[in-house]
Symmetry: D2
Subunit: 357 residues, 4 copies
């Protein structure tokens, strides 16, 4: 259970980190969309490991093969099946972990739930799974672009290095100009330095991604339980290592401000507001102003230091970090965050088509 | 759409702030549960308006009538229909708002979505809707208590007044000993003072609620999209005025800490960890340690000050705050947060029954 | 579980035969529909007991009260809650059945499933539940009428008395001209006679309803599992006492005919076919031709004859039929069948709005 | 939409008749099941084309490759991805049909719905899609066998040749002893003859499959809308070419019998009934007696005769049947029917685990 995202634009995925392949099925993609395969590949390249000195050295070509639902480059309305081979699998790196639960990983919880687990590379709990989200998210983005909506995500914090700018002040074209995906070059250099220091120490560091959607349409989001921001929160929290979510409210602390400070004055009948503390969503429904959210990532749990833990029998065991891992997950997570926002927005866009008679 | 919560334990609700009544249907409640009606009424009393000097003066008895699914005090497995009358409705207070969109309310977004809106008391977008969540949440809590799981929520922040304690340091029995629902009496007095000051100024203030579940069972949560914490995030963000969510990580800033600091060492084969930065969930599945989350509420949008806004024709209009409202929503939201956590956990508890052959 | 019908136009219901009330919530009804309350009442009147000499003598006024989702007669897009009081409840009639399982009723199966059951009037398994389907179905019909689609159902068989006409040959205006709801008056008289004979004998008799939709639109239905006719079959089989379903193929026996006999030649680019053995659906998608189905009802299980059965302890017990029941269920089921078809079609109409970009 | 079956045991499929491959994802399969791959292959072999003189001559090896969710032969609880290559694709056979709508196929309805269609071999509307149902159905059967439930399907009618026996009178071991899958050898020979005659004439013929489940457990099925038989009806009607469904009532005509004839007397507290006209389901919930259904298939629409039809522009066109097709679909549909019953039953078995506290 739980391997499907969305209600009308539905992504279902399968695959383990060290299985032969990973893939998914998109059901509900509207017919007649001309697929931009280059854009999909671009997003995959931005996520894939081994792309720079600050990411995992696992080498995956991450070539997606589409098996159905596309005819002569256009979607037909039938399910889009796709598959990505796992190439650079080094399962031997995990032999010593067969019976031991790594700290802050999903080893114990999977075992407790299912009574069985694939220990190789974290199995299904590996972030390798997110490659499928990027494939579907890229297609979702292409639908949104057709109606004008444009999504951008960028790294706004790595450890103690923070970008002190609103999303309105950055240049989206500069996001991918550097390995850490922060659009401010002086800050991005500091971020990269911070990651490298932790990598050298065999340690890891957390970070934050900011994501926004411009040129939004009003009327998306289904109250009361499927509020647009609630669905966005779920989408983001479903990404590996995410522990926190905030939408709207700029750099203001939500819980300590006054109503008179943060009420967004509506300027005209199109719903345009003077300020946008609401983050483009009111009562769970988009109001046409920009949507923006901040997503907090914890440090990666696999560290290259000695740690004690328990094995299946309860025996305390010393674990030494092995395998190829990221010291900071946020640079590669940028296209994943964009994808999850796109999947959420497209789903609500489709639902909104049925709101009026 | 969007008025159903849950997959196996499903709550569907209806009702507007100023309609004749509000209610819901619980489908999937296991049979054979002896309902504790006093507990339901207690939770309703904790949520209802007019209960103290720091809440809205609207007077609602909030008496729930059950129409089905319960026989001689026990659930039968069939849907539980329930209804609550709206008594103290003063729709005239909203006559002047018929064609105007209040700032930071859902007036514009509902209108944009549906082309029609119930302007009286915010209609469906009113937090009055949450009364149904408390009814269902109380029943969900009773199921959880049967298997040992106990949920508590409390106010951990109001404006600038913050409780600087871990959830482990507070006494749950003291939460409801005061009107603001903070278990530390010296802090709670400061919080009440803060709310009163803003009320006198016709202003409102945000706050934060901390919620935790003790004696958790491992194995709840469905990766990859329905991770337990992702579902909790959605549940919490679906509550009116919530803008932020964080799980685990105590008072530590998620994005700026190192892996070696926050990895939770597993002590034995039951999954008990030395620290609990993971917040009781790993890879989206509970690991048996306590779950805890922090939920940030924005200040209430209805202020008793003059504000400009736009009406349906785009004309700028001066609005003066009227109606009966809370200056700070968090004290009354405590049982709502508990309810949403209970609904989420029960749903995943039921799903987890099907994980093994 | 199982008390919700539909994906975008969703009906969730509650209520037992002898509870204080019965009702439901419609979620996903498009906004802006002007509700025709008279039409709803008309459909309810056609279903309600006590309306003629051939139906159950239970007297229910079946007055529906709407609690939300409708403002000044128009739907607002928010959930429509509704409730119907149970008035003429004679639970004492069922005292002798408290521990005994009636033959061919749901007494045993509910007990086996839930370990508890409401024995009064069949509890949730009573056809009283269908009153909620008629309320929602009437609203669904009103949406369909707005886009031109018109549904009619009629009794085509009672016991051995069969109407040997195609649905194309009958006059829909004559359906409700008689108590048995067969549009052919000479046949309807024979049907009424047949019902009366069985009633006098304390026995019951089965029957068949034919339902059709005219002026259909092409493109409704979602292959491969949610084919339009598969959803119609589920809808119809979910009605109490239904055991059989057939769509298309006129009076021809499906399994014994040849392809060359029943292939529907397409006459023009609008998809109009010369014959319509396909019943307006091809590959699970409507093709714009009429949809028609035949639904077979078993005889009512409650007979006024002595029957042996088992009680909860396994003791064989003599049961004598008591209570107020229909001798033949089909006359009152006509609006129910129409409702289930309308609910199914509206749901697929809404989904079809999202099929193209 | 519509490419997912089930609520807890969920099958999602993709693939067109002439795409490079076809496959699916099973989400919610309980962990710890030791997969019997030989049984899966056996069921696939029973469905595949080219297996005998009375089936389509298309040659497909139908080798399924599993990509995830199975570790050392056991299910892990994570999604099971699988893929089957399409080998013997002769798309050229369909070149002449690129712009023309074949009679009684889904050509027109897909085009009307999506504005685009894959004309090669019927695209997604081809029965080739059912190969995925057999893979998942075989796994579902293996779960059922673990708890004792055994499903068998067989051909009970081909054209005018009917097997006049109850399912209780046949020997399941003889079903696959012949090409037509009728357990009575003298009848099966007549059926084969009938199919051959129609094949020689370039024509096709309908048929009927009977399916039953023995050693059933009581308590499966979710009233009121997800009644077990309603879900079975939907499952069966979702199979290509099925137009009719009946459950229970042996060879008796449902609509013309009397209550006193067909009421099933309960013999003891285990729910065992003297007769079983109810077909093992009462009020939508299994009662522990055998479930049995009859499913009517229309004749295959592709005939080897000249037929007129319309093309996309409305021009009348003569079509001559080409391609490799079955003259009668029922022999190959036997494992498909078994699979759909197994998928339905397993899903309800899992749900039933959550019915009691």
């Amino acid at each position: 259970m739980g391997n499907t995202f969305g209600r009308l634009f539905k992504l279902t995925t399968f695959g383990e980190s060290h299985g032969n392949s990973i893939g998914g099925i998109i059901d509900g993609c509207p017919a007649g969309l001309e697929i931009d395969f280059e854009h999909i590949n671009l997003q995959l390249a931005r996520r894939k490991p081994g792309q720079s000195s600050i990411t995992s050295s696992r080498k995956e070509s991450d070539i997606v093969e589409f098996n159905s639902g596309i005819l002569k480059g256009k979607t037909t309305g039938t399910p889009i099946g796709f598959i990505i081979k796992n190439n650079d699998v080094k399962s031997k790196d995990y032999d010593h972990l067969q019976n031991v639960f790594r700290p802050s990983h999903a080893d114990f919880s999977y075992y407790a739930k299912y009574g069985i687990r694939d220990h190789r590379g974290g199995g299904r709990s590996s972030a390798r799974e997110t490659v499928c989200r990027v494939v579907a998210g890229a297609i979702a983005q292409q639908i949104l672009i057709k109606i004008g909506v444009k999504i951008h995500a960028y790294v706004s914090k790595v450890g103690s290095v923070k970008l002190n700018k609103s999303y309105l002040e950055i240049d989206p074209d500069k996001i991918f100009s550097n390995n850490v995906r922060c659009p401010d070059l002086s800050i991005s250099n500091k971020m990269i330095e911070q990651i490298k220091i932790h990598k050298e120490n065999g340690d890891t560091i957390g970070g934050q991604i900011t994501v926004f959607a411009k040129n939004m349409k009003p009327g998306w989001g289904e109250p009361v339980f499927d509020k647009l921001h609630a669905c966005l929160a779920k989408a983001m929290l479903s990404i590996n290592a995410v522990h926190g979510f905030k939408y709207g409210f700029e750099s203001v602390d939500i819980s300590s401000c006054k109503g008179s400070q943060v009420n967004d004055i509506i300027e005209n009948s199109s719903g345009k507001t003077k300020t946008n503390f609401s983050g483009g969503i009111q009562g769970g429904i988009s109001n046409g102003n920009d949507i923006y959210c901040k997503i907090d990532f914890k440090p990666v749990s696999t560290i290259m230091k000695n740690q004690y833990s328990s094995d299946e029998t309860g025996k305390v065991t010393l674990i030494k970090g092995k395998g190829r891992h990221d010291s900071c997950v946020v640079p590669r997570a940028v296209p994943i965050v964009e994808s999850m926002m796109a999947l959420t927005l497209v789903d609500h866009f489709l639902i909104s088509k049925t709101n009026k008679i």
